[in-house]
């Protein structure tokens, strides 16, 4: 029994790693195409039909590029920083159920690595560690602009983790569990949480943009300084690992939002599974859509939004939820 469990877990981990590393690469293709169509361009067109092999060409470029470690950097920290970003994104995925359980060759498969009963807390905590990647990369780079960017990204992440944690507290109070499977099952009987917790849904969605460092909260890279922020000194596959981490995080957050607020995969039918993937795709698309539609906000506007608007709303939402639950 234990051996079978071990083999099953290892296979699941390898499948998730392979699928989402590839998806992270293909995600860049989608991003360039979506942005291009929204800006009335064609995007990548030359490599393969409709530029679909562009992802492969990019991968070859990243893998074969010279790996430069500049002279004055703190070597070991500089080298480990991209690994932290990529690794924590995938470690967080251990508690996400990607599909309902299904039967394959008479063997029941649960597409979740480990259904720990504190799923959400674990996912948010480990995604929080992911911010050490940009921070260490920036601090070890011996580059003033990298350091500035690292400080800025740390401030953004820490602030928005407060909003994420508080906004998700009200749904947790309703469900009474921290496991994502329990969230899914609760919504089968009681309707989607987006209808009973619309405010929490909006707050969590907004905070997700900050957690993944996407436009309009894209302060991790200094676009206005025309350099790539904490990643300025990186090249080749080390830079690629930062990229994989960012896109994997976007995909995992896109799985978590529908699981918590939009009914997840429902009762586990095939239709429910496809609906779940469709919801996930919509939230991934929203990351690209927003990037095409809105410019970045200023750092002070970002902090104002977090501490003076979103956080009070989240606290009020929790109090109202608590009062309603006591009355009911």
């Amino acid at each position: 029994m234990e051996t079978a469990y071990l083999i099953e877990t290892v296979i699941k981990i390898v499948v998730i790693l392979l699928v989402f590393s590839a998806l992270a690469g293909i995600g860049t293709y989608f991003e360039r195409k979506v942005l291009a169509f929204m800006q009335r361009r064609l995007g990548p067109m030359n490599v393969g039909p409709y530029g679909m092999l562009q992802f492969g060409a990019d991968a070859i470029k990243l893998f074969t590029k010279e790996d430069i470690v500049p002279t004055n950097v703190v070597g070991p920290i500089f080298k480990i920083a991209p690994v932290i970003t990529a690794a924590t994104a995938f470690i967080a995925a251990a508690a996400i159920p990607f599909l309902p359980s299904f039967t394959l060759f008479g063997y029941e498969v649960n597409p979740i690595v480990s259904d720990i009963n504190i799923g959400i807390l674990y996912i948010l905590g480990v995604m929080g560690i992911g911010l050490y990647g940009p921070l260490l990369g920036g601090m070890a780079s011996a580059n003033k602009f990298s350091l500035l960017s690292a400080a800025r990204s740390a401030a953004v992440f820490i602030s928005y983790e407060v909003v994420t944690g508080l906004s998700i507290l009200a749904p947790i109070m309703l469900v009474g569990s921290l496991s994502l499977i329990d969230f899914n099952n609760y919504q089968i009987d009681n309707g989607w949480l987006i209808f009973s917790q619309p405010v929490a849904f909006l707050l969590f969605w907004i905070a997700a943009f900050a957690e993944t460092g996407r436009t309009p909260f894209h302060l991790v890279a200094n676009d206005h300084e025309i350099i790539d922020g904490f990643g300025t000194e990186y090249s080749g596959m080390r830079w690629g690992l930062f990229f994989i981490g960012e896109y994997a995080n976007m995909f995992f957050i896109s799985f978590v939002i529908p699981l918590i607020f939009l009914g997840g995969f429902g009762d586990g039918s095939v239709l429910g599974a496809f609906a779940f993937l469709a919801k996930m795709s919509f939230f991934f698309f929203s990351f690209l859509w927003v990037r095409a539609a809105w410019p970045d906000v200023r750092p002070d506007q970002l902090m104002w939004l977090c501490w003076k608007v979103l956080m009070p709303i989240a606290v009020i939402n929790i109090i109202i939820t608590g009062v309603v639950m006591m009355e009911g």
Binding site: I80, I118, G128, Y132, L136, M139, A154
Partner: protein, 183 residues
């Protein structure tokens, strides 16, 4: 068997990380090793079945060490080695002795611990619920006192830091900033 492997792996990693924290003269190494050590400690909670405390350990310490990074950024050039002052030798010897005694005590603990039973063993409700029950019944007063202390710290922090909060350098023009600086 897996528990034993995991325990020895994470015990080794934790000790190595804290050893680096203490011995290195490079601020960035020390901070990073501290953060890593704190996160590896959470593994022990997971091994013991205290999932909730393990996740809280990750959340709390990854944030807390982040604040240390901010200080490191402000006070040091973190890419250079620091010259440490060698302090009083007697203090070093005394602390080492105490540490050695502590290690012996820790290794003796398994002999004594046979007689120890958990006050609130985890029931069927899952340990998040159990922690909540104990925290809000038996340990309510310490819990609330800690909350009040944190509130005091937060308010004093805002009062200390918030003297010029209504001024925004970003919104001011170049002349206004220069005028302020020349005063």
């Amino acid at each position: 068997m897996f528990e034993a492997i995991a325990f020895y792996l994470f015990a080794f990693l934790t000790i190595v990380m804290f050893y680096i924290t203490v011995t290195t003269s490079q601020a960035l190494y020390a901070l990073t090793a501290l953060a890593a050590g704190m996160i590896f400690i959470s593994a022990f909670f997971f091994i013991l079945g205290a999932d909730f405390l393990g996740a809280v350990q990750i959340v709390v310490y990854s944030g807390a060490v982040m604040a240390l990074y901010a200080f490191g950024m402000m006070f040091f050039d973190t890419t250079r080695d620091l010259k440490e002052k060698q302090g009083n030798k007697y203090v070093v010897v005394g602390l080492s002795t105490i540490a050695a005694v502590l290690v012996v005590l820790i290794f003796m603990a398994p002999i004594i611990s046979e007689n120890i039973t958990a006050l609130y063993p985890i029931g069927d409700g899952g340990n998040t619920q159990e922690i909540g029950m104990v925290l809000f019944t038996k340990y309510l007063v310490p819990f609330e006192v800690a909350a009040v202390m944190l509130l005091v710290a937060m308010i004093s922090g805002i009062v200390l830091a918030g003297k010029k909060m209504d001024e925004s350098l970003t919104l001011q023009s170049e002349e206004e900033i220069n005028e302020k600086a020349s005063k």
